[in-house]
């Protein structure tokens, strides 16, 4: 059971960091933030299903 429940991707190793002057961010956080912004943008522009079908209502 423990093998099944163990993480498939091991993140328990020293992190990597983006450094830009005084700005620093871990890859982990950066991935979350980028995914968040991308998801927001996709949610804005992606076509919403069923918008034409309900014309008659």
């Amino acid at each position: 059971m423990s093998e099944i429940l163990g993480a498939l991707v091991n993140l328990d190793h020293p992190g990597h960091y983006i450094s830009w002057g005084w700005f620093q961010m871990s890859y982990g956080n950066f991935a979350v933030v980028v995914t968040m912004v991308v998801t927001f943008l996709v949610a804005l522009v992606a076509p919403f299903p069923g918008r034409k079908k309900e014309n008659q209502s």
Binding site: D12, Y17, W22, F23, G28, N29, R51, N55, S57
Partner: protein, 316 residues
């Protein structure tokens, strides 16, 4: 609404147009299922961090000199905590809030009183059983005048500490200096693991309060070295970082940000200033609907035209 003029950033004519079928429960059920699967998947793929706790025993074994130096600073009253101020003691005024010069912590007062010498050195040592030399040193310390104590502390402070053959050695030192016995015994006690329990429980059995032991560990240099390796220090944006490569509390980015820039990065009042700014900004976020200018941003940026493009195009 009739009394005041229509303000497009505040008012709206309620919708009387077309409706379409909407199954709110089905939507909720699908969302819950998707989130549950996503959670299960992410947990399976990435797991979660659990960097083991550190103990005083580990600290004193890994870096006995740092430990002994810290214990000495607690006894001498020169540690970070000894000079902290409220809520632990009256040793300093603490931080004041930006331009207001309000010493908030000091105003609230000392509510978690801690005497570092007693809490971290003298009281734990007194719990050692059958230790005649320690008991004698404690009695000598207790009966000495402030001048005598200060002389011993000064002499010990100038000595060089080393750890050889399982023993803490301070040289040069006069034979009659009880500080030597106290610190060496505390180091031995720490390395045996006895200090952890003595300091955690403070004499009792049950506890859920680890204030003393955490403050003591945090006063040493070893703990910060570990955090430095994990990139968790304040000047490393550490508050939003996590051990290993996991994402951390990314939502603290703005709070963390203030610590990185001038004047806060070099200010002794950075903590209270960062908190003050964040409280102000949080209030701003909460009150967006009432703040002219801020509440006009959505109408002026016109991002809403993308969101409601089907509506504006007459497709719905």
């Amino acid at each position: 609404m009739s009394r005041r003029n229509f303000n497009p950033d505040r008012d709206v004519r309620e919708w009387t147009g077309a409706q379409r079928p909407y199954d709110i429960l089905k939507e909720g059920a699908i969302a819950l299922l998707v989130v549950a699967l996503l959670t299960a998947g992410l947990a399976l793929v990435f797991g979660s961090p659990d960097e083991k706790q550190v103990t005083i025993q580990q600290w004193s074994s890994a870096d006995p000199v740092d430990f002994a130096t810290t214990a000495y600073s607690e006894l001498a009253g020169t540690s970070g905590l000894a000079g902290y101020g409220a809520p632990y003691n009256n040793a300093s005024d603490g931080q004041f809030l930006g331009v207001t010069h309000l010493y908030l912590a000091k105003m609230v007062g000392v509510h978690i009183p801690i005497d570092p010498a007693q809490t971290f050195v003298l009281r734990p040592l007194a719990t050692l059983p059958d230790a005649a030399t320690v008991r004698f040193a404690l009695a000598t310390w207790k009966n000495a005048s402030d001048t005598e104590r200060q002389n011993w502390l000064n002499e010990y402070g100038k000595a060089t500490l080393s750890f050889t053959h399982g023993q803490l050695v301070a040289t040069p030192l006069s034979l009659s200096n009880p500080v030597d016995v106290l610190i060496a015994s505390e180091t031995a006690m720490a390395r045996s693991g006895a200090l952890d329990s003595a300091m955690v429980t403070g004499g009792g059995l049950y506890t859920t309060d680890y204030t003393n032991v955490l403050l003591f560990i945090a006063d040493g240099g070893w703990f910060a070295t570990l955090a430095d390796h994990q990139h968790l220090l304040g000047d490393q944006w550490g508050m939003m970082n996590e051990t290993g490569s996991y994402p951390g509390q990314a939502w603290l980015w703005l709070y963390t940000f203030w610590y990185q820039i001038h004047p806060f990065s070099t200010s002794g009042n950075a903590d209270v200033d960062a908190w003050g700014i964040m409280m102000l900004l949080t209030a701003g976020l909460i009150l967006v609907p009432y703040i002219p200018g801020l509440r006009s941003i959505p109408r002026r940026t016109k991002l809403y035209r993308v969101i409601w493009r089907d509506h504006y195009a007459g497709r719905v």
